[in-house]
Amino acid sequence: MTRPVALPAARLAAGDFVTATAGADIVYFLCNVGDADAQLLLLPPSPTSGFRRVVVVDAGATGKLPPLLRDLIGAGLVAPDGHPDAAGSIALVVATHPHDDHLRGMPEFLDAFRGGRIAEFWDPGYWHTIDAYHDTMRSIAGQAQIVYAQPTSGFRRWIGSAAISVLSPSVQLRNRFDTYGTELNDSSISLRIEAPAIRVIRDDVGQRMIRPDASRLVLGADAQTLSWSFVLTEFPYLAASTTEQAKLLDVGSGVDVLKADLLKVSHHGSKHGVNLELVERMRPGLTLISSVPEGGKYGFPHEVAQALIREALEATTSGQPRTSDAGLSILYTADQDDGSPAAALGSIGVVLKGGVRSVWRFGDTAGRKINLQNARRWLDA
């Protein structure tokens, strides 16, 4: 691995994170859980109550997500206990795949918010023999209101004004699970989340579609080369058509359904987790990697993955100097500042509005909870 370069502390400024979320399309947290994954999203606020609904994607460690969500409830971003919007306020929990580093904290999270807060749970349907898998199933079984589902590629779900698309696993991969024909990482549910989605307003002639400037995230779980190969073919780039017929029928406007403002790199930057074409298709404005400073047990992120991400974001010819990771907006949960001693920058919070983002760091280490009061904003250069 190439250890992340220390980031200048001068580019971090204290601020009021909760206030900064006002009006945001999506608020995203990539939690610092070391060699694991834990993510939380706040969806657009309810037009009536103003409270946001929550999506959790993986809980690879205990002690991180429950206190974060309680603090978000306490801050008034999510409906408090007893409010009519509290029921189902955790709209979706996704266990992308049942590896321990994505599931270890899941039973704790599911049990911490019993009482009707959790509406829906997805996993890929890959039964795994580890204890955390059994515990997760028990937690779901005890909460009858949770709808359980095993989505595959192409499935779309709208929650409020957010649209969630399942990019992987392909159903072709799911049908191999029982014979171990699919490597467990390739069973991962990877998601593209867009908000606000296409909306319809009423006017004098009926209904009219509007396409607001949206924020789009791709959360790559631990999907690897095989899984992404299906994604690239099942979600093709649709080139724009300039024919008169296309203009007349309002078709062929050209869209890349993999385009993302934010990419959570799959598999902690494993060399099998991304490929050049994939990142070029996504063209993320912000690329985030969940990792540990010294590479952890598996040496992630792998320098091959780091190099191809950089190349996808900034194509270079031989000898051309490379922009720094921070300059390319590649950030790691393992980031540290350039102080002496260096301080962990920890979990990453991103506030997205119309594809424009502000990035925040919480300074937590892997074993400590996120303190929203410690938020510092990462200032653009």
């Binding site: 795994h128 023999t129 580890i130 204890d131 059994h134 359980y148 047990k297």
Partner: protein, 197 residues
């Protein structure tokens, strides 16, 4: 909520001391010519080790206390979280160790793979020092499948047992929520989300 996908399982666990240890079906629990049987006391001190992942030559094992069976649900209970941990071991050394123990008990010698489950006696130190490594993968996989399918669909009640070709005496006498059948064997023929291939 437009409908309830299933009935909730009881979530009040019985006292742990009253739960029987899980005895995986089709597993050689009396070994070394019968001189060394796996009694409840041995199982209580044993460890459940499942291969979570294999990365190159590194095998990651998720280790927990040997599970007991919850009478109310039939689910496996792996005990307190402070006894859970993840360890990494060398692939070749684990393979050698497992091969030896599989051969000693007449089990199929095969490459280890993600999802394999072992009952380990004295899991401490290097793999070579573990007293016994017993392959319980078949039962472990079936228990994991049962954990899933008992979550997503209700178990048949005693009244409906005959419809599934089950012995009514093995199904909970009173209508109980999903998962009343102890894990270890999958549901008999019936609708499943997708068949084994």
């Amino acid at each position: 909520m437009i409908y309830a996908q299933r009935d909730p399982e009881p979530d009040a666990p019985s006292a742990p001391e009253r739960r029987p240890p899980w005895r995986p079906p089709e597993t050689p629990l009396a070994i070394d010519g019968g001189e060394w049987a796996l009694g409840d006391d041995v199982l209580a001190a044993a460890r459940y080790a499942a291969i979570d992942r294999i990365d190159g030559t590194v095998v990651t094992l998720a280790v927990a206390g040997w599970p007991t069976v919850e009478p109310a649900t039939g689910r496996l209970d792996f005990g307190p979280s402070d006894e859970r941990r993840v360890i990494t071991v060398d692939l070749v050394r684990l393979q050698e160790r497992v091969d030896g123990d599989r051969a000693a008990t007449g089990q199929l010698v095969r490459p280890i793979r993600v999802g394999d489950v072992f009952l380990v006696i004295d899991l401490a130190g290097p793999v070579s020092r573990w007293t016994r490594v017993i392959d319980v993968t078949r039962a472990g996989r079936l228990a994991a499948k049962a954990a899933l399918f008992s979550t997503v669909a209700p178990a048949p009640t005693a009244d409906a047992a005959a419809d599934f070709g089950l012995d009514p005496d093995r199904v909970a006498a009173d209508p109980k929520p999903a998962g009343a059948e102890p894990p270890g064997e999958p549901p008999r023929a019936g609708p499943v989300a997708y068949p084994a291939v």
